[in-house]
C-alpha cells in the first residue's frame, strides 16, 4: 500500500505544484536553486519564510532534522548550500 501511495504521490506532485499551488518566491541569493530542488520536493517554500527570522545557529539543526528525522534525500554538499542560504537570508 505504501509503495503504491508513494508512486502515486510522485505522479501527483508534479500536477499539484504546477497547476494548483501558488508560487512562493524566496529571496534570490546563492543556494536558492538547491532549496527549490530539494526542500520543495516535500513541502511548499512558505515554511521557510513563515519560520523567519530564525536564529542562525538553529537553521543547521532544521536541515539536519529534515534529513535524519524526515528522510529527505539530500546529499551533504546540497545540505550545506541550503543551510548557508537559510542562515544568510532567513536568520537573525
Amino acid at each position: 500500500m505504501r509503495t503504491v501511495l508513494v508512486a502515486l504521490a510522485a505522479a501527483m506532485l508534479a500536477v499539484s505544484t504546477a497547476a494548483d499551488e501558488k508560487p512562493v518566491q524566496l529571496k534570490r541569493a546563492p543556494g536558492l536553486d538547491k532549496v527549490e530542488t530539494n526542500c520543495a520536493a516535500c513541502h511548499s517554500l512558505d515554511y521557510i519564510e513563515m519560520n523567519s527570522p530564525f536564529p542562525t545557529a538553529l537553521w543547521d539543526a532544521e536541515v539536519t532534522k529534515m534529513i535524519k528525522a524526515y528522510g529527505a534525500p539530500i546529499d551533504d554538499v546540497d545540505a550545506k548550500s541550503i543551510a548557508d542560504y537559510l542562515k544568510k537570508n532567513y536568520g537573525n
Binding site: 508513494v6 511548499s44 524526515y70 528522510g71 529527505a72
Partner: protein, 407 residues
C-alpha cells in the same frame, strides 16, 4: 483516489475580507486586505500568511500551501460550533488522496486482537450511532506566539474548532475483533502519507483505556454533514479531550498492539517534558525518563467578539469561548486591571464537557481598557499568566487580552 485540484479565490484580497465578514459583524479594526494577524507572530509569518480558499472551504488564514495548513479566523469562534467550511486544516505530509467512499474500507485487527474485520462505509453506518460535541485543537495552536521562536507551523489562535461529531464507538469496533487483555495500545493509520520514500508515515496510537472510552468515536459526520475532504473524509477518529494529533483523518486501519507503537510520530514528535504541565491523564506506555506524549488539552479561553482597538458601546457584551480537556468549564472570569481583580462572566449554553463554552461580559465603565479573560474548569485548573516553555511549542494557554475603547 484522484488528485485534487485547488481553486484560489483570492490573494489576501478585498473579496476575501467581504466573504469572511458574511454573516459576521464587521470589525471596526478590520483591514480591507489580508488576514488579521497577531502582532506577536514572527515577521516572516506576518509577511507570508494570506487569506486563501481550499476547495470546499471559506477563505482561511493560509500558513503553508503544501501540505496545507490553514487556520480559522477568530471571528468564527463567536459561536460554540465552528462551521465545516471554516474549520482549520492541518496536515504533516503532502500526499493527500481524495478518498472514494465506495471503495474505502476500514481494517480492524493487529497482533493485540483475537480476530480481524474489514468494514465498508455502509457497514460502519449500520452500527449504533453516537454523537458528541467536541473541540479539536492542534497541539501546537498558538505556537507562533512563543518567545523565543519554536520552529514548526506558526499558528496564532485558530488551529482549533468545535463540531458535533457523529459516528460509532471505537469500542464497538474493537469488540468485533476482541482485544487481548495483554494489548497496551491501539494504533491508527490514514490514507494520506509522505511524499518521500523514507519519510515516516503518520501513525498514531492511544492507550487502550482512552480508545475504549464511550466518547472516542470513529466519525463519519461533522455538524450533520459528511466530513469535508480536508477534515478527514470519509471517516476520522474523534478523541474528545485530547489534542488533534490523535484524531487520525482519512482513517483506514486500526490495530491493537501488544507493544507500544515506536514510530517517529509517537517516540519523538508530540512530546512534552515530564511534570511541567498540570495534567491528569497520562499515556504511560510511551513514557521516557525525560518526556511523555501530549494528551489532554489544557484549560483555555479566548476573547473573540472584538479585536484590539475596537470600540464597544458601554453596556454591550464582550465575549468568547472557553474549553478544556473534558472536565468541563466551571467559570470564566474577566479582569480589567491586569489581573489584580476578577469578575465572573456569564456562561452560555452547555453543549457538553468537551465542547466550546461561550461566555460574555458587559463592560459598563467608559474609556480605554484592557480586557483579560481566564477560564477555570471543574477540577480547579486555570490558565497561566506566563508561558510554560517546552521544546515543541505546545499547550499555550496564556490568558488572552484585548484592549478596547468603551464609548
Amino acid at each position: 483516489m484522484r488528485a485534487l485540484t485547488r481553486r484560489h479565490f483570492v490573494g489576501g484580497s478585498i473579496a476575501a475580507g467581504a466573504t469572511m465578514a458574511g454573516g459576521l459583524p464587521v470589525l471596526p479594526s478590520a483591514r480591507a486586505a489580508g488576514p488579521e494577524l497577531a502582532p506577536e507572530l514572527p515577521e516572516g509569518t506576518r509577511a507570508s500568511a494570506v487569506l486563501d480558499s481550499l476547495p470546499g472551504k471559506k477563505p482561511l488564514i493560509k500558513l503553508t500551501y503544501r501540505p496545507p495548513n490553514y487556520e480559522t479566523p477568530i471571528e468564527y469562534f463567536r459561536e460554540a460550533i465552528t462551521p465545516n467550511d471554516a474549520f482549520f486544516v492541518r496536515y504533516h505530509l503532502a500526499f493527500i488522496p481524495e478518498v472514494d467512499a465506495k471503495s474505502w474500507r476500514l481494517s480492524v485487527g493487529g497482533d493485540g486482537a483475537n480476530g480481524q474485520a474489514q468494514l465498508t462505509l455502509d457497514e460502519l453506518k449500520a452500527l449504533p450511532p453516537v454523537e458528541v460535541v467536541a473541540v479539536n485543537q492542534c497541539s501546537g495552536n498558538r505556537r507562533g506566539l512563543f518567545q523565543p521562536h519554536v520552529p514548526g507551523v506558526q499558528w496564532a489562535y485558530g488551529a482549533m474548532g468545535c463540531a458535533r461529531w457523529k459516528g460509532v464507538r471505537l469500542k464497538d469496533l474493537l469488540d468485533q475483533v476482541g482485544v487481548k487483555k495483554e494489548a497496551v495500545e491501539i494504533a491508527f493509520e490514514g490514507a494520506d502519507g509522505p511524499v518521500a520514500d523514507k519519510t515516516p508515515d503518520f501513525v498514531k496510537s492511544l492507550p487502550v483505556w482512552k480508545a475504549v472510552e464511550d466518547t472516542t468515536l470513529v466519525a463519519y459526520e461533522m455538524n450533520g454533514q459528511p466530513l469535508p475532504h480536508f477534515n478527514g473524509f470519509p471517516v476520522r477518529l474523534v478523541v474528545p479531550g485530547w489534542t488533534g494529533t490523535y484524531w487520525m483523518k482519512h482513517l483506514t486501519t486500526i490495530r491493537a498492539l501488544l507493544r507500544p507503537e515506536a514510530n517517529f510520530w509517537m517516540s519523538s514528535a508530540y512530546r512534552i517534558p515530564l511534570g511541567r504541565f498540570p495534567l491528569v491523564t497520562r499515556f504511560t506506555s510511551q513514557d521516557t525518563a525525560a518526556n511523555t506524549p501530549i494528551t489532554e488539552m489544557v484549560v483555555n479561553s479566548l476573547v473573540t467578539s472584538h479585536r484590539d482597538g475596537a470600540e464597544v458601546q458601554a453596556g454591550s457584551p464582550v465575549g468568547g469561548v472557553a474549553w478544556d480537556g473534558g472536565y468541563g468549564i466551571r467559570a470564566v472570569e474577566v479582569s480589567r486591571d491586569g489581573g489584580m481583580s476578577w469578575s465572573a462572566a456569564t456562561l452560555g449554553p452547555d453543549l457538553g464537557r468537551y465542547a466550546f463554552r461561550t461566555w460574555s461580559f458587559r463592560l459598563k465603565d467608559k474609556g480605554r481598557q484592557t480586557v483579560m479573560a481566564r477560564a477555570i474548569n471543574t477540577i480547579g485548573a486555570t490558565q497561566t499568566a506566563a508561558l510554560i516553555a517546552n521544546p515543541a511549542g505546545y499547550h499555550h494557554n496564556v490568558m488572552h487580552s484585548v484592549w478596547l475603547s468603551v464609548i
